[in-house]
Symmetry: C2
Subunit: 329 residues, 2 copies
Amino acid sequence: MQAAPFGERLAAAVAARESQIVLGIDPEPARLWPAALASTGESRAELATLLAAAEHAARAFGGTDAAPDAGRLEAAAAVLAHSIALIDAAGPACVAAKPQLACFERLGFGGWLALDAVCRHARAAGLLVLADGKRGDVPVSAAAYAQALLGATPSPFGAAQGLDADAITANPLMGRDALEPLIAAARSTGAGVFALVRTSNPGAADLLDLRLDSGEPMWERLAALVAELGDRNPQGLADVGAVTGATAPEHLERMRELMPRTPFLLPGVGAQGGEVAGLAAAFAPGRAAGLVTASRSIANAHERAGAGDPESAARAEAERLRALAWDLS
Amino acid sequence: MQAAPFGERLAAAVAARESQIVLGIDPEPARLWPAALASTGESRAELATLLAAAEHAARAFGGTDAAPDAGRLEAAAAVLAHSIALIDAAGPACVAAKPQLACFERLGFGGWLALDAVCRHARAAGLLVLADGKRGDVPVSAAAYAQALLGATPSPFGAAQGLDADAITANPLMGRDALEPLIAAARSTGAGVFALVRTSNPGAADLLDLRLDSGEPMWERLAALVAELGDRNPQGLADVGAVTGATAPEHLERMRELMPRTPFLLPGVGAQGGEVAGLAAAFAPGRAAGLVTASRSIANAHERAGAGDPESAARAEAERLRALAWDLS
């Protein structure tokens, strides 16, 4: 059975959950919810099993000193407990979860175990999983990233299943042939690829805003490429999306002209509700055409005075953003 | 004690090993050396321990069905055995090993265990470790990648050590502030960052060759950024390098003008010795200023008629490339 195209799956998910909010999962081990740290302590017995298992594993893979892994694994277990609590609290107001791969990679193999478990938990909670790694490489390596995130790797021991994400982010610098293996793999499972077009960091201006001799800025060329690569089902959204920072809303109208049926992933909204109001152009082709990502503004909402415990504060902030975007679109 | 700057460390390593060859480690599970597969079978007892440990670990991290992990872990163990055999065979003719992160990520947490072990083995064999992930993200996420590849992550359970690479590859599309956390972390440990300037795939022309309104192609602007970001020790090589595909040698002279003290990482040389001869401009500031990467041409050298067993063929091909580059530089 062929999977439905990503644009259709996304539109259906947004309608069903009445949300365009993407819950960013960027756990910092030094800034986890206290309850997550406590639950790691409580499940000490389970953790002891895990640590013993990890020592075996590290030794079998040629490690001689398993000691440095112990703290790293405890950190990974705490990151997992935190991420699960975050999904349970804020997930009901969201349509997707977006783990930032760097935050898991930095904890080594325990981090990848946690990442696997986070993706499973998000999926079980009814969320789409958007693996945020901004990968990009020559075609043969791009194909390997596609196997890691979207597909499986053939091996003499059977197919090695990857993360099975519903969507990924990708870096388009190396051009069309570097994106194509990612898009082909995504298409075969009904997943989507969000390519960077104009990011939200100040440095994005260094290259993406450079003016070409044709008169257009670099990001417009990327926008044209994204529009061209997306599946042009005239009835719905494309399956190649664009990462379009919400910090420059004046660009959004032009982006929508260039990419009329492209889903936009809008990071940089942060805690400022005012900014969501600048995103109307993103939603023009339909509610699912603009996905608003928020990470720290949800996970750290309890740090504002009077916001209550982390779970309640996260739930309230996600719901606030959900209602704001939904009413606008 | 402060680490020596990367440019100095690189020059010393190239002189000591009389080699500018970087051994790419891009293992494909379906195309491993037969001896590696056999050794995985022979160490069945050890592998059984590992698999049991992994099942414990997966369960502790919330997995319910550990079965799909078994084949994936066997594949990771075979990939590790292959990579170690490759390093043992070809490493003596090389100055660095360059694991392609995608090839390990696609095997999940077992792949990261294998990656850790490959880096340790390469270092023990006297090779620099160049983690090839072409990462690039907004500053906060770039800092997380820096912790994963070059440093450590603070946590309530102690610092979680990362891969501890001697150098990494990075994608500069998101601009200066996205590169800076990687460069700062690298600098603090004497490591280097190789940013993409003009890659070797055909699609690189789509964006990197675009002409700006100032008249220069995009890649020249990237070259200027790389030269500016590198440590300008007037006596030696910079600590920010450039990935400069060897498939367009006519660009190399211009690149050298724009980046007079930048180490170049030259992929795309492949099995064709003729191409190495086009690289003279890369070596102009000194032998360590041009690093020639080769992956499949070494690992798959035995597939040519009469090349002998994989180990001998890999050793011979690495030595052939080493002598060719050394004589030219």
